[in-house]
Symmetry: C2
Subunit: 444 residues, 2 copies
Amino acid sequence: MIETITNYLEEKKYIQIKELLENMRVQDLAELLDNLTDDNHKIKLFRLFPKAMGAEVFSYAQPQLQEFIVQALTDKEISTMIEAMYFDDTVDFLEEMPANVVEKVLKNSTKETRLQINKLLSYDDDTAGSIMTTEFLDLKSDTTVEEAFQRIRKIGREVETINILYVTNPSKKLVGELTIRDLLLAEENTKVESIMKDSTLFITTSTDNEKVVQIFNKYDIIALPVVDAENLLVGIVTVDDVMRVMEEETTEDFHKMSAITPTNVPYLKTPAYKLASNRVIWLTCLMVSAIFTGMLITFYETAFAVLPTLVACLPMLMGTGGNCGTQASTLIIRGLAINEIKFKDYFKIWLKEVQVSLLIALGLCALNFVIVFIQYKELVLSIAVSSSLFFVIIIANCLGFSLPMLAKKLKLDPALMASPILTTILDCAVILIYFNIAKLLLGV
Amino acid sequence: MIETITNYLEEKKYIQIKELLENMRVQDLAELLDNLTDDNHKIKLFRLFPKAMGAEVFSYAQPQLQEFIVQALTDKEISTMIEAMYFDDTVDFLEEMPANVVEKVLKNSTKETRLQINKLLSYDDDTAGSIMTTEFLDLKSDTTVEEAFQRIRKIGREVETINILYVTNPSKKLVGELTIRDLLLAEENTKVESIMKDSTLFITTSTDNEKVVQIFNKYDIIALPVVDAENLLVGIVTVDDVMRVMEEETTEDFHKMSAITPTNVPYLKTPAYKLASNRVIWLTCLMVSAIFTGMLITFYETAFAVLPTLVACLPMLMGTGGNCGTQASTLIIRGLAINEIKFKDYFKIWLKEVQVSLLIALGLCALNFVIVFIQYKELVLSIAVSSSLFFVIIIANCLGFSLPMLAKKLKLDPALMASPILTTILDCAVILIYFNIAKLLLGV
């Protein structure tokens, strides 16, 4: 495909290109544009798109490509494109651009567009305000079904969805909603207020995106109205944007849980120094604390001077502690993220985790005792290791579920209380428990 | 709310209950039903729901509650409810039920329903067939817009969505699609084939759910047609089901990456013995391998007999190795899951990770050398530790990105190659590298 287009561009076969483009989706065209090797070809191809298609392809392009396109277009071309784009897409794009590009775009927008963009840009990145679209179809409550259809036919192409329509009173307050299906099944002279449902489900511009995702997931809806502080309808959030947010938030959680500073730039597009800097901060903190944790071991030199094999069981204890903690914390972090678990469940979880960790601890300790005894034929060692393992598992599970819940309570991100931090804390616990039990049993 | 309903039920104030229910959403009613303490109340309340509402509430109920309701209802009530439910919801519910419940339900279904259910039940759990709905609105290509509207008015209430309509030829092959918006903006006597778009985007009943999620995410769509092996249109997948699948698949990935056997039963609904058994399998495997890894340490007893502080730096090396490996593997596992990274990118990633790990290794090793030297005032130790750290970081990063990609290539789940397994492998590498370097430098 890329080759065909490249050849056509070189041979100036523009008609053939236009034919090829007709059956393609804008998302694929954005990818194709990104994959062309010659920068001149990119701009040539972009200029061949019809106005509306160009605006859509641009919305789906990667930030680097968007920047390149804006730099290459004339003022007039930018102006046409921006007016054809949805405001929310323009805002998403501007948020990733350097100041000079933002300036160039705003300079070439109409006053109305500029106002809308600035308003949307002012919302916090993690809130519904930043993902809502202001181009929706609202109806007055005394509109008839017939008038509603006229309005849809008139401005239906310009709004993001007509599948759900929102009804407002004269002061623009949200009073109800109805689907296109409700309209189609109603009589022509019925007023929309008599067929609409109360809008009991709505969010504000400052609702957290995580909450928005949870509402969409729970209620199986495709759009949600957004109101401002005065309860006036200011926008709608559609399911496609919510799915994107859901994917981004999950990626962020994965990154945080692995001690990576989260980013939404695709891996392959991130330069190596940036990848390194996203990882090195946490690595450094964790390494430094591990050095100090390790210092504790020096207090027990006499113990492993008497029984050097003591050291051989240290990795197993640390590993198992880390794994137990990771399991418990992951279950809780994910449960909190999808709203399956709330802070008020703390006691129930506590009860459950105590049972779970006792079950696991008893099973693993018995097995551990047998293997360690067969392997090293040292009774004291086997007892020291398996009894330490018992306490380590209990502590690991308790910390694993408590720390994320505590973080939630303190309005911190529970995802930070995952494996890497937990493991570092648990290593310290392992050293203290294990060597103290060993000292006690060895009598040194 | 629960209290109010309980009181009303006890005082038999059924009219007040019905009024209360009117403005509630079915998802909330399912939750409310689940939270009632008295089983008799549950059934009493359920019987108060109008037919369609009851079927919907039932679809959203937890499996345990569904089983209880089916056991309590009469044959006639079950029959009415099943006929009012969407086939895909019935199938989702039956998949979680014990055999006697499935039998009771099928016995009380019409022949037509039973056929449809059995067909849907036969699709693999991870494929589009299992999440598609067979109740959709299809149009013939020579239907006019007016006829299409008539058809929507006639059967629009029974299908899951009318926002996207699919067009088939006389042999039921999928030939195109159009939105309700396209219909509304067209002339009454236009034929749908002249306003429809080619259906270039479709899936088969055996398409993997992960792939389905990727398509929805990429193309911002709200429904996708499903065809069978003969390219006949057999169903559609709607965005609400895809969001549920997306959430479930992500939860599974989180669990697998933390060495937990994945389950979709909510944490608080899972009994302790089940939670323990989901976690203990991997814990046991990892513990046993860690015991054997630890054995390696006994070969180096002489080294830490000469310099006991050697042992103090072991946790730091293991921790940092584990963290580096976790970071790299998480980036790759998540990238593969959202299709941002493909196996063919292996070489590009290799190049990137080598740069990243060199940058990280140089930074951390320098810092490490300084801290360890200040702390222990042992030059040999400091050199041994920081040079080991260098190799450990490089190896951890390489294993971290390679193992998930290798798993993908071998058609295994990349999510299994995460922190717990990696850490166990890396611990082994740390012991070998560290003690061999130490032996060399100490000359023992």
